[in-house]
């Protein structure tokens, strides 16, 4: 009896003692940063765009909203992070279905099966939201060029690109209608300064930054100054500005690096002038993303039996210079899928068109420009004492595939786990990974200890 009692007593002691392995709650701190009013500026990545559209679930998992969610753990009193939300399916988006034993990407407008179409409210989305001051100022498609105008002409052009322009007078009959950026409709861009378009005062993107009351910001601008060019296969977009005396206006080409630096300085000046602290991010090498790597020349030869892959080679302004056989240095865009399945590119007479290919020359131009832009971002941020998240380096690091929380992540289409179905933008898990890169730099620089987001809690690709 005696010894049994002893064993039980000892065991009871141990069981009581077991709780001691628990780690104490970590005391959370904002460090030197003030997260009270967090503002995010950027493009589609910031707006939460994914699967080829902006939709409710995507926005809820934008990287800024993930950062804000984590920030709240160190500063529970911070202002709510307001985003210009769309309803349900928003602009419509791509999803996967399992058809004839194959995983198939279904885009809005596809007739084969039920696509995820835009929400009924999308056509008028944003119109009643212009007076609201949002925390997430991300606009899909926006370039750094469009954020700040250096002269009057640019003010006119930026205002048209972002806010649209419309003249409709019966006599003399003039009808001129250019839609603005549909993803920018939540923001008020004032009046276009051109006398034909109202001759009023524009509100620039950078003005919204000045009025944002930010105490803290993340700035991931500049991607579209390369990406827009790259995803179009190196073909700039054009606006007919003849009526306005502007001739043909091109945008969506590679931005000028000197202007890039000046405009980046302007954005950071705007934040600095209101005393905000924050963090900037470099832009990735766009050619690393699945959009450019899913179809390769070798892959097309092997999977589709092409002897050679014929392409149109373009100049940097959308013109075609020659038709030639593609090499491994030419990148075939994800959008070439239907063309390839239809047999295009198999012969010299039916090459893959310029808009389906980022040829070697264009790749080179993109990469060179990306390095120049990133140098500009680094030195501009250094000038204002803001830290920089090296997204360029990070994407290089995960290029061969990495493991995070036991989950395989790679810049591979569908199987890579982090990119959405458009092959350019991230999915919620990818955005959580990006958010963590921001958080690490914020913690490191400002001495805060924002806990990292759990990437496993954010969904990857939804398989059928």
């Amino acid at each position: 009896m005696k010894k049994t009692g002893l064993v039980i007593a000892a065991a009871a002691l141990v069981v009581a003692g077991c709780k001691k392995t628990q780690f104490a709650e970590v005391e959370r701190t904002s460090g030197d940063a003030d997260f009270t009013h967090y503002i995010a500026v950027g493009n589609s990545l910031t707006q939460g765009y994914q699967d080829g559209g902006v939709y409710e679930e995507g926005q809820e998992n934008s990287y800024p909203s993930i950062i804000a969610r984590q920030m709240k753990l160190v500063n529970p009193d911070m202002d709510d992070f307001e985003q210009p939300m769309v309803n349900n399916t928003g602009s419509g988006y791509m999803h996967l279905e399992y058809i004839n034993n194959e995983i198939t990407v279904i885009s809005p407008g596809d007739t084969t099966t039920q696509p995820t179409e835009e929400d009924a409210s999308w056509s008028t989305w944003g119109e009643s939201m212009k007076s609201i001051k949002y925390n997430n100022l991300g606009i899909s498609g926006i370039t750094l060029m469009q954020c700040v105008a250096m002269d009057d002409n640019e003010k006119i052009i930026n205002n048209i690109i972002l806010g649209g322009a419309s003249i409709d007078i019966p006599f003399p009959p003039i009808s001129y209608d250019i839609p603005g950026n549909p993803f920018a409709r939540f923001m008020d861009f004032g009046d276009n300064p051109h006398f034909l378009l109202g001759g009023g005062t524009p509100i620039q993107y950078v003005d919204h930054i000045r009025q944002s009351e930010a105490t803290f910001f993340t700035c991931w601008l500049g991607d579209n100054d390369v990406l827009g060019f790259a995803t179009s296969g190196g073909i700039p977009t054009e606006i007919d500005g003849t009526l306005l005396g502007l001739g043909t206006v091109q945008y969506g080409n590679l931005s000028d690096p000197i202007m890039f630096r000046q405009k980046y300085d302007s954005v950071l000046t705007a934040f600095s002038s209101i005393g905000a602290e924050g963090v900037c991010a470099t832009i990735p090498d766009v050619t690393v993303i699945p959009y450019f790597n899913t179809f390769t020349v070798a892959g097309i030869k092997q999977d589709y039996g092409y002897a050679d892959v014929w392409i149109e080679e373009g100049d940097l302004n959308g013109g075609v210079t020659q038709v030639r056989v593609a090499t491994e240095n030419d990148l075939i865009l994800l959008t070439a899928k239907d063309d390839i399945e239809g047999g295009s590119g198999a012969s010299e007479t039916d090459p893959l068109t310029n808009d389906r290919v980022l040829d070697a020359g264009e790749v080179n131009a993109c990469q060179t420009r990306t390095i120049e832009f990133n140098n500009a971002i680094q030195s501009s941020a250094a000038m204002f004492n803001y830290p920089v998240v090296d997204m360029h380096g990070f994407l290089e690091k995960i290029k061969p595939g990495v493991m995070m929380e036991g989950i395989g992540i790679a810049p591979e289409y569908i199987s890579g786990g982090a990119f959405s179905l458009d092959g350019v933008h991230l999915n919620p898990r990818g955005y959580a990974i990006a958010a963590n890169e921001f958080i690490k730099v914020i913690n490191d620089y400002y001495g805060s200890n924002i806990p990292l987001a759990l990437i496993g809690s954010y969904r990857g690709v939804i398989f059928p």
Partner: protein
Amino acid sequence: MKKLFSLLVLAGSTSVFAGGFQLNVQSARAMGMGGAYTGFSWSTESVFFNPGGMCNLKGHNFTLGGSLILPSVSLQTPSTDNIDATSPNATPIQFYYGGQILDNLFVGLSINNQFGSSSSFDDAWEGRFIVQNIALKTFSFQPTVAYKIHDYISVGAGFIITTGNFAYEKAIPVGSVDTDYGKARLSGSGISYGFNAGIFSTILDNDKIRLTFGASYRSGQKLSLEEGTAEFTDIPLSLQTSFPASTSFTGELNLPSVISTGISATYKMNEKNSIMVVYDFNYTGWSSYDTLAFDFANEDTPDSKTTKDWQNSPTHRFGIEYVFNEMIYVRAGGYYDISPVKDGFVSPELPDVTQFVPTAGFGVQIGEHFGFDLGWFHQDAQRESDLTDAGFTAKYHRMADGFTFSATVKF
């Protein structure tokens, strides 16, 4: 879209059995003295610790014992302040027989659980893609013979048959509209063979002093899981060719070899009272555990291979025993265990730590024929490390208390 789809989901993320999964609870008496038992000879446990030491047994001796191990593991990650693993208590058993059949010939049998590990987490915990639940349990049977060459030196050897049961559950990072992630359950069993040999020497034995020495080698064993069952659940329809509801797999678990040497020195105060100090040095061949691979019968299921890259690791064991009136045995000791797991390979299912572990115990001998022993150890250590292959970082706090009780009958 042909060949678009290569699955990364299982690769590299299967990590099993970090932590020395060797159970060092094979004797209540040894446990009282830091687990040392190679360098002295006292009772039936020599069959396991050093077959050469069996030759001091008289008559027929039976020991039956069991342990209760109460583990507790908590983690802190860059995302979460505290996560408690729900590791179940372990109850390994031991049975030893040793007896003299001729003047110089002895036979023995050892049945025990030499390897084991069991760890559980909440199904939805943040490391679920590494492990949710895992369990390994082995039973080893070792018939043994020993031969006394002369009074001062004896040798022994045994043949080991080990059966092992293994089960492992983890989440798979593929989701659908209805499910957040899939689940894999691997289970299997297998048999392995090995041997255990030892030499024992009484260097000096007089009225005052006894000095003994022992050395043993327990071979490594390859535990083959020949017909393991892999079950996949909650898998999206489009991926069920890669992760079918059920398939079989083969795998191999390398159980390590152990080289041990030990010494003991006893000072006899009188006929009935003495004091003994012991020291053991173990060298465990964990480098055998360099990779862990599962090959699935279903061709589309990505085979899994995990680099463990463990290192051979030494353990120092020492203890002291005071014998009072040839009836009460009081023991204390400890061991210093150097982790075989390098930084970058520490896994949540059993985070191994280099640590000093104190132990204590006592025994009571009631007459000539009956005795019992109780041993205790207490582990408490922390470690911070990555599991690089899985992209998982944590700070671990691991505690365990173990009790071993055994009863010995001699006739």
